[in-house]
């Protein structure tokens, strides 16, 4: 059995680092991990995803309708990946839309209210993170990934504690970023 997580967002948002933090924290707990990432051209502002499978799994990719948790860095990307969520699964999402240039030069428009309403209607276990408030309070927009991981670790049975994730942060990030990410990890505690 494995605990299956999908991380999704827009190229450049830090989904790959988040999946590495999850993987390292799990390995330190003695668990096997397999992951798969979007790498290459799609990273240039395109939709990106990572599949993270913690525990025994024969394959790095997760089937549709089989993910336990979706961590979305962007609300439209949460909807795009929603078909992967199993019934009763959890979604942790940022509420801050990233509007692609395509939506302003003739492509489909981006109506963030409709997107958020849809998520609220469809997902029973939904955790919404106010990304703008987090960026303001923490003084940086770059640690959204860790804010979301913190929220996820408290929202569901990840099997990873905040301490486990903190140890992974210390392992993968330079020391000058530890303090910021420590605050980011605990950021949503008051709202959980």
């Amino acid at each position: 059995m494995s605990y299956d997580i999908i991380l999704c967002g827009v190229g450049g948002q830090g989904t790959i680092l988040a999946s590495k933090l999850l993987a390292n924290a799990s390995m330190d707990r003695g668990l096997a991990v397999k992951t798969a990432e979007t790498i290459g051209m799609a990273q240039r502002g395109g939709s990106v995803f990572s599949h993270v499978r913690i525990g025994e799994a024969s394959c790095p990719l997760i089937g549709r309708g089989r993910a336990d948790l979706i961590i979305a860095f962007e609300p439209a990307e949460a909807v795009r990946q929603l078909a992967f969520l199993r019934p009763g699964g959890t979604v942790v999402t940022s509420n801050r839309p990233i509007v692609p240039a395509s939506a302003m030069v003739g492509g489909p428009a981006y109506d963030v209210k409709t997107v958020m309403d849809y998520l609220r209607a469809k997902v029973e276990h939904l955790v919404v993170v106010d990304a703008d408030a987090a960026a303001r309070d923490l003084g940086s927009a770059k640690c959204l990934n860790v804010v979301l991981l913190g929220a996820a670790s408290r929202a569901c049975e990840l099997g990873l504690s905040e301490q486990d994730l903190l140890a992974a942060i210390h392992k993968l990030l330079p020391q000058k970023l530890w303090e910021l990410n420590e605050r980011a990890l605990a950021y949503t505690t008051k709202n959980d």
Binding site: V10, G11, S19, K20, A23, N24, M27, A32, V33, K34, T35, A36, E37, T38, I39, G40, M41, A42, Q43, R44, G45, G46, S47, A57, S58, C59, P60, L61, I62, G63, R64, G65, R66, A76, V79, R80, L82, A83, V99, P100, A101, S102, A103, M104, V105, G106, G107, P108, A109, Y110, D111, T114, V115, Y118, K122, A141
Partner: protein, 605 residues
Amino acid sequence: MHTEFLMGNEAIALGALAAGVNVVAGYPGTPSTEVLETVAKRRTDDVYVEWSINEKAAMEVAAGAAYAGARAMVTMKQVGLNVASDPLMSLEYIGVKGGMVVMVADDPGPISSQTEQDTRTFAQFSKLPCFDPSSVAEAYEMVREAFELSERLGTPVFFRATTRVDHGYESIQVADPAEWRHNSPEGFVKDPSRWVIFPRLSVVNHAKIEARNAQLSQDFSSYERNFITSEVGEGVRRGVATHGINYAYVSENLSGACQPRVLRVATPFPFPEQLAVEFLKGLEEVLCVEELDPFIERQLTYVCGKYGLDVRIRGKLTGDIAPSGENTVESVGAALATFMGTEPVATPAPDPEAPTLPIRPPVLCAGCPHRASFYAVKCAMKGKKTIFCGDIGCYTLGNAAPLDMVDTCLCMGAGVNIAQGVFHTEPDTACFAFVGDSTFFASGITGTINAFYNQANMTLVVLDNSTTAMTGHQPHPGTGRTMMGEVVAKVNIEAVLRGIGLTVVETVDPLDHKLAVETVRRVAAEPGVKAIIFKSPCVVLAKPQAKSHVDASACIGCRRCIKELGCPGLTFVDGKAVIDQTQCTGCTLCEQVCPVGAISGGERL
């Protein structure tokens, strides 16, 4: 031994280092790039590594090293193999002394490639053995086995993985550097009867290769990575033949009281024929679960004919597996359920109530100098009959609205001579070829000489951002750095062009929009082959100075900045343009485009 969380490509690199590889050469290309980068990062001082200027050069460097007894590896993506195929097809006849692994990353989907070609088929075409791992852990182990086989048989061998293995991560056991094999090359031993290819040598060696491959098919039938798992359930007469990551998809979907017999093929060529016969014995039907070519399907169909076996072989050719694109856990699950006559695992149907989502194709980054270059040419040539031939790199993304500045894109370096071909057909068209700096070195130079020599009238536009941006910023001859960490003389693009004979070569900063437009107008009006070098650093590498801001009281909401440039850093909120400060690099292009001077503050790099 110790445990590491590794990407497939990192595991391949560490496997090669543990196998005592001496020389590694390659050309970057998704999904292969990280193999060579990891060799460079983790190597001991005695291992030589280079980014070559293209795959042909890399193949020849590796071959020369292997002639001298080194263990050598060459890395590339599948389309790179086309570039390297000239030396490889002859090397097949000559062979090697040290082990030589040709690592090729295939890209079903394709996710970031032009083609869905299958290196297993290329292995058969070139008569070279081929390894095809199913997981990160297996890739690590298999590289050593590939080197051993190569050295034992004196032939280069293919090591082929697909994107999901190359870019999958697993926590696996790897050797400590102290446990790595040490290989001391004997050196090149002169022997014209061995190393100089002539028709007489080729015909003799061709016969030897065919005999070797027949024997190898036998040997591979007992290779432990080619295996059969037994069927589960009374009277199950069905089998599944699969390979690579598809084996993982099949395993993920098999459960319950009724399961097919499974053949996992790790060496598609030479095909393990005897093992296949054993697998087929007693079966009525076989489903081949493959990506790219129906390679195993054709092999099994052939084996059935050869041995008179009455087994129906199904797969891509019978419409049971999609003929193109990438397989997924659920597409394989559905195909298996249909084949076994079982209930498929329910997967959610698309929700008709789901909101329409914005499309998010990859775009040029905010502040990317390529945007400014394309925009300058667009403005300069407005209203004229033009063709804009693009090439392979980030700048292929110049095709998107609103720039719409890439009319053609074929393969590395092709744009130069496509533009030339259009000119010879319609001389009244202003023909432009856009090429990046790394692509110029890879295969743009010969094309430029061809156009110059054959009296074309066209403008070459070199988009020089001083790196290989698309694949993750690898050094190239123009950067003055090598993969060994040396600082070396830079190859100067302007000097190369002047050396060819071009007399009009102008270097200009594309972010100085007015000057860039004037330069394009002036240069394009000259006769013959002329060149503009747009020089400005890749924004991913450079640190922004000051960013641009919109003065909301001055913005008239005309959207000109958004409509002209399509920069992802520009949005429109409450009737005014807004600049996303997390993305802006202060390139100032929008400041120069704004008709009322409402944007200011940026400082270009």
